[in-house]
């Protein structure tokens, strides 16, 4: 087990290097450069050349990349020119906000999704199943930015129950309750699609398991129905559900971009969008590295959990 984890962690290194190289190349390929983004409408050829030299953009691409890589290996992520602060400070701060949001959304969608899936499977084709399936379909189909706006309109503008945007109250606040209040709407918005996907897959894999012989045997032995479903069937179905949860964790992390924009959540998704449009390459690189590493880690965790759950995968 340990060697499995160690091997997977080692594989992370080439993945991250490859990824940073791809991001670097894409940023170099898209037209418009950071010097122009800084100088804006007032850019003249002369001032551009001077600024490019100041920023080290006059080196060839491979040299620029190697300089960056060398700095990273020394723990220096560089300085974001568009924010005038060290990249690492910004990335860590923003990633923490995104983690809080996506972890909450992930918890929500796992609970809702799994519960809905199990209930549907148990009551297959009953009215509960039909209703939940319809809701799940709607959930999957609703664009999250639209749902977010609707929730803001209802709960913030009309009812004044919850704040419309931000992570903490502007004056005072800052405690856990304040954070929780600000989390409700964005986390709900973010969890809806993933909850739908998880519900459908849970339902399918539960149905499959429920048809198997060992379930019939359990029932024949007179095991209580609740125990059949949760102790026997659900445990078996979980083996199939876990990798999906891993993928959905990544999805929630990626989907945070829209939700962060609508709710002004100070997360890393919104940071990346702005960084790309201002050609802030150091910030983009730093942000992508962190997101990619965490994405790989989530999948690793999902695999490990699956290992622990399923004796067949273990060997």
């Amino acid at each position: 087990m340990l060697s499995f984890i160690a091997r997977r962690l080692l594989a992370l290194i080439p993945i991250l290097i490859g990824l940073s190289l791809i991001v670097f190349l894409i940023m170099a390929l898209i037209p418009g450069d950071p010097a122009l983004a800084i100088l804006g409408s007032y850019a003249t050829p002369e001032s551009l050349t001077r600024l490019r030299a100041e920023m080290g953009l006059d080196h060839s691409l491979p040299v620029q990349y190697l300089i960056w890589l060398d700095n990273i290996l020394h723990g220096d992520f560089g300085r974001s020119y568009s924010l005038n602060r060290p990249v690492l400070d910004e990335v860590v701060e923003r990633f923490r906000a995104t983690l809080i949001l996506s972890a909450t959304a992930f918890a929500l969608c796992s609970i809702w999704g799994v519960l809905a899936g199990v209930v549907c499977a148990v009551r297959q084709n009953g009215w509960v199943d039909r209703m939940v399936t319809a809701l799940v379909l709607i959930g999957i189909s609703i664009p999250s930015f639209w749902l977010g706006l609707l929730l803001i309109l209802l709960f913030a503008v009309r009812l004044h129950w919850l704040p419309a945007s931000g992570m903490f109250a502007i004056y005072g606040g800052g405690d856990l309750l304040d954070l929780a209040r600000h989390l409700v709407l964005p986390a709900t918005t973010l969890s809806v699609v993933a909850a739908g996907v998880i519900a459908r897959l849970t339902r399918a894999s539960m149905l499959e398991v429920l048809r198997q012989d060992f379930i019939r045997t359990a029932r024949a032995k007179g095991v209580a129905e609740a125990s059949v479903i949760f102790r026997h069937a659900f445990k078996a179905a979980l083996v199939n559900i876990t990798p999906v949860l891993g993928v959905q964790a990544g999805f929630v992390l990626g989907g945070a971009v829209y939700v962060e924009t609508i709710f002004q959540w100070p997360g890393i998704g919104r940071m990346l969008v702005t960084a790309i449009s201002t050609r802030d390459i150091l910030l983009v690189q730093g942000g992508v590295l962190v997101v990619a590493a965490s994405y790989v880690l989530f999948n690793l965790i999902a695999d490990v959990v699956q290992h622990l759950l399923d004796p067949r995968v273990r060997t």
Partner: protein
């Protein structure tokens, strides 16, 4: 089953009700003004920023030697009590206000003024590396800054330069505490210290910038206890925050949401035309726009009023020429916008013998002052098609767009969208309409317009320090440019803002700055 659902939902509802707390949740605190901004500031160092969004904060933190008069674009004393201009127009001597202190406690002196300008302009200054300073060219005419005594500072210019005082009133001319720059270096943008009406308290990234009242402000302490600037990039979210009471004042209200703030018992709507002009550059170097009749035809063919009323929903007015009416003293009000007259346009096109070649129009997706560039570009395309000009649109993201337009349109496009917001009637025509401002000479005349008489008028206006004389020259220049039609003149943007009815004494300025010194919140 049903009973369980009922119980669960009742419990959830109760939880939500307790959770959301009192109804006063979204209320902002008394005497603290919360402003909804359009983006996170880049920096709070006036020497390095270029965006109006940042200026809105800076103008409340710092002062310059001079400032714009309330409601106008003419300068009046600020940190300088008075000034003298030498007869040759090359030396400006300022008498500084006595007893003014920076927020960090250090004294405001002539040395501090010199330090600030040396930092931007002198490559040998030890603090020149705290840049880059993209707008330092505002002061490129300065040869030397001399501190004659602690309260007298002299600027020696290389050549006569009329916009100098106006540029000093711009945020690039704001004075930062030298001690703070020495302490924080490049980090000064996050630890600002000026002499302004409000003192910097904290900047929580992507959440808020908080300023507090400066009780010792030389021009009288402000009434507000504090101001909080919140970056809310999404327009709809900004509106939702205003409606739910999360902010007291919002700027740049999306035009189609203004209707939601019609109730005067709850909201006030503000509008103010600014020194902004939105236009289409026409490539006068290549056919068909090397012919003046073709350029005039475009001005007749496009229904500017429809663009302003329908796309911009009245948040702009039709532009008559290259100079916005906000420069009241220099504006030629005898000019009227080209009327919408497709028949006249067709006649001119026929006279010019246009061969039907398809034209390329560069459109941007967004960008500083560009308003609603895609729908505007499409409307213009349709109007031009109606008079027989086939226009193909190429759309680019703002940075890419600038990279294509600024080096000149030759061989690439016939028309290109552009907008400028300036602080002096000199800036835009001098940088974008002169023969000496072609792209290869480092200017922004990407459409290659050239008229020796306009060049002479602009040079003359720049050399003169007499405002009456300058006004005469600018007005003449506008008449010629109006007739030569190097651009399609489209719109002058009116800045808007919405405030809750509790906010008093607020006013938008033609400079587009946000000045909060006199504002109160009841």
């Amino acid at each position: 089953m049903k009973r369980t659902i009922c119980k669960v939902s009742a419990a959830l509802f109760l939880a939500a009700a307790t959770f959301s707390g009192s109804a006063a949740l979204a209320q902002t605190p008394p005497n603290v003004l919360v402003v909804g901004q359009i983006a996170e500031p880049k920096s709070l160092d006036p020497a390095v920023v270029t965006a109006v969004n940042d200026f809105r904060i800076l103008m409340n933190l710092y002062d310059g030697l001079v400032r714009y008069k309330d409601g106008a674009l003419e300068v009046e004393p600020a940190l300088a009590k008075s000034w003298r201009i030498s007869a040759d127009g090359l030396a400006y001597t300022f008498a500084l206000r006595d007893g003014v202190k920076f927020h960090d406690g250090s004294a405001f002196t002539a040395d501090a003024v010199k330090f600030n300008f040396d930092r931007m302009l002198d490559e040998k200054s030890p603090y020149h590396d705290t840049g880059p300073f993209p707008l330092s060219f505002f002061f490129s005419a300065v040869r030397e800054v001399k501190a004659l005594d602690p309260l007298t500072v002299e600027f020696d210019l290389k050549e006569r330069y009329a916009p100098f005082l106006s540029n000093l009133a711009y945020p690039t001319g704001l004075i930062v505490s030298p001690e703070a720059i020495k302490t924080y270096g490049k980090e000064i943008g996050r630890h600002p210290s000026g002499t302004g009406a409000f003192v910097f308290k904290e900047w929580e990234s992507n959440s808020k910038v908080v300023l507090e009242r400066n009780p010792d402000y030389w021009d009288g302490a402000p009434k507000l206890e504090a101001v909080v600037f919140r970056p809310i990039t999404d327009g709809n979210t900004r509106v939702a925050e205003m409606l739910s009471g999360g902010i007291d004042l919002m700027v740049e209200v999306p035009p189609d949401t203004l209707g939601q703030f019609k109730d005067p018992a709850r909201y006030q709507i503000f509008q103010q035309a600014g020194p902004h002009v939105w236009f289409l550059m026409l490539n006068a170097k290549e056919p068909p726009f090397d012919d003046k009749r073709m350029r005039q035809a475009v001005n007749y063919a496009v229904n500017k009023k429809a663009i302003v009323d329908n796309i911009l929903q009245g948040t702009a007015q039709v532009a008559a020429g290259p100079t916005p009416p906000a420069f009241a003293w220099a504006y030629n009000d005898a000019l009227t916008p080209y009327p919408y007259d497709p028949e006249k346009a067709k006649e001119l096109i026929k006279e010019a013998g246009y061969d039907g070649q398809p034209l390329i129009l560069y459109v941007t997706e967004g960008g500083s002052g560009m308003l609603d560039p895609v729908p505007m570009g499409t409307a213009i395309q349709a109007d031009l098609a109606a008079v027989g000009l086939k226009v193909n649109i190429e759309t680019y993201e703002w940075n890419t767009f600038l990279g294509k337009v600024n080096p000149g349109l030759e061989g690439k496009a016939n028309l290109a969208e552009m907008a400028w917001m300036t602080n002096d009637p000199d800036t835009l025509p001098y940088l974008a309409l002169r023969t000496g401002a072609m792209p290869d000479k480092g200017g922004f005349n990407s459409g290659y317009y050239s008229n020796p008489e306009v060049d002479k008028l602009l040079e003359g206006a720049r050399q003169s320090t007499d405002q009456v004389e300058r006004a005469k020259l600018y007005k003449k220049m506008q008449a010629i440019v109006h007739d030569d039609a190097p651009w399609l003149f489209v719109a002058n943007w009116k800045q808007n803002a919405v405030a809750s009815s509790a906010v008093k004494n607020f006013k938008l300025q033609p400079s587009f700055f946000l000045l909060l010194h006199d504002v109160t919140k009841g």
